[in-house]
Symmetry: C2
Subunit: 345 residues, 2 copies
């Protein structure tokens, strides 16, 4: 059984109940998230369902241990704070019981759009057989319209808006939430849409490495006026596990490749239809061809800081806790596109 996804049950505890039903293939292919989260969401749900099934079947005679990999922070100041307010979630340790609310979380799926993440949690709940089929999953962050958050059993679904700064704010507060809730063995996956390079529309890209607009596997930040560069590697084992899930589903093309993360959607991704454009179609094609030659298979706007924060917080590897992965549906091929291309978000 893949280690990363653990022996997950709907409650977040090792699953021993014999009444947990096996999901039929047709149950995995429908639902509202099939329309809104694209195949990437289905690949992820497959992995979650598969683990749950494994835990309920003959393979799960020995319960797995889930006591070692707590979420950790990389900030000594937090230990001195009486209370931690997660301002952009409108949640705080002084007003909310984080362990009670979130202590069972094992999977966090993040994506740009609030409505998409709402649809996704309904789909996940149905797939995992949690609650009534028509059950509503209310937004946990009702005190703000910056982000939306939904929960079904051990799965948290959170929107992050568009672009590196927006997802970075969310990730800082999400990682602190998981820490305060004393979560363990958490896997974080970004499920998004992107512009494919040399791929058929609807293909899924599992990101091996996030690269910047110059194709470098790094994320650059300015901290107190100084340049800090962080690595953007993702967990290779999780990549392989997700690839295996997709192969078993065999419903859509899935590739492992590098993902280019840009700070701009129009000029930053070589589009010809922004308010500003100073290059030609030929220039654009040359850039996209060079990206493809560098192993890049899709372009989006959040992967680099996602990978960097997982890595910088020690959120990868078997010893330290959660793992991060990026699963993206390539909406439209950009390399073959001779005109303006959209919508890769």
């Amino acid at each position: 059984m893949p280690r990363a996804l653990g022996s997950l049950s709907a409650s977040g505890e090792p699953e021993h109940s014999q009444d947990a039903r096996r999901l039929r293939p047709e149950e995995r292919s429908g639902g509202p998230a099939g329309q809104v989260t694209q195949p990437a969401g289905r690949a992820w749900t497959r992995s979650c369902s598969q683990e749950r099934m494994a835990a309920t079947g003959a393979e799960a005679k020995e319960p797995q241990r889930h006591n070692g990999c707590l979420v950790r922070l990389s900030n000594p100041h937090l230990a001195t704070m009486k209370e931690d307010l997660l301002y952009h979630f409108s949640l705080g340790t002084g007003t909310h019981d984080f362990p009670a609310m979130f202590g069972d979380v094992k999977f966090v799926c993040v994506g740009g759009s609030p409505s998409r993440m709402s649809a996704f949690i309904k789909y996940v709940a149905a797939e995992l057989g949690l609650g009534r089929p028509d059950e509503d999953h209310p937004n946990i962050c009702t005190g703000t319209d910056r982000y939306a958050m939904y929960k079904a059993g051990p799965v948290l679904s959170v929107s992050h808006g568009m672009g590196v700064p927006s997802i970075a704010i969310m990730l800082h507060e999400l990682i602190k939430l998981l820490y305060h809730a004393r979560c363990s063995d958490v896997t974080i996956i970004r499920i998004g849409t992107s512009g494919g390079i040399g791929l058929e529309p609807g293909s899924v890209v599992i990101t091996r490495q996030a690269v910047d607009a110059c194709f470098r596997p790094e994320f650059e930040q300015i901290i107190l006026g100084k340049r800090v560069v962080r690595s953007t590697d993702l967990d290779e084992r999780l990549v392989q596990e997700l690839m295996q899930c997709s192969s078993e589903l065999a419903e859509f093309t899935t590739v492992v490749g590098n993902t280019m993360c840009t700070l701009d959607f129009y000029e930053g991704q070589g589009r010809l239809d922004g308010a500003l454009c100073s290059y030609t179609e030929k220039d654009k094609q040359a850039y996209l061809h060079a990206a493809h030659a560098a192993g890049i298979r899709n372009i989006e706007m959040e992967s680099s800081v996602f990978a960097a924060m997982c890595s910088a917080c020690g959120l990868r590897g078997s010893a330290t806790g959660p793992q991060g992965a990026i699963l993206e549906t390539a909406c439209q091929p950009t390399l073959q596109d001779t005109g303006a291309h959209r919508p890769p978000r």
Copy 2:
């Protein structure tokens, strides 16, 4: 009369009607936007109301001309496109009549939060005496949850999310919208919240120049793999006009200063309460003191690309069309703050 704000009427046309009532001072200080948009919004509305009043009074014997300053784009490819889809607004030239919907727009106010921009349009409509006091202003971008857009007479209110990439997408599509609608004499103002440096909470900063996290007055982008640097100057005349409006209101402290735009809210702004932090309180204070010495009076996450896009599209100056300005309320002083500071957004 300040040139930038023109002789604006509620319809966007020169105002001659004698029944347009003068607003009493108490009408300017209440309303829902007083709670959500902070003093910056009131300063702007003051300027709009003032211009309207001027146009209805004795000073407006000669109607002003409004036929010269059309919105222009800096992209030759758009002229060859049959249809332009503003994907993140869910609006398109093939499906929507832009001149009919937006042709009378003279002011665009942008801010991060959708609910705040909804509250702001209600406040503006009441201030300008447009429609019934309880009239609803529906979201124009109902086909998406990426951005929200509201209109009252000549005023458009648009949310932009958080961070440079998010506002950049919005600005590309907004500038194209104004272009397709054949708008003229448009003033664009960001009305937001920010972290003040050496200011009392509630002070308003009118941005003279947006600077980056190294205090440089420039916005750096990677376009087709190459570094492009753009200027972040804002229109000095508009700065002075807004300062004059605020002086006349005399309800809150207003300063003109530089605004630092960062790509990150936690480490990027020297906060001590993110999931990651590798510096001390002393390091943080040294950085903020250096910023203050460089003329910076507040920190936020959108100003640099706002200024750069206005400038790069030729959106400043008397000859070429619209002007841009940034008006921000400093929610909390960061320089005096000895612990983690919030909420500067």
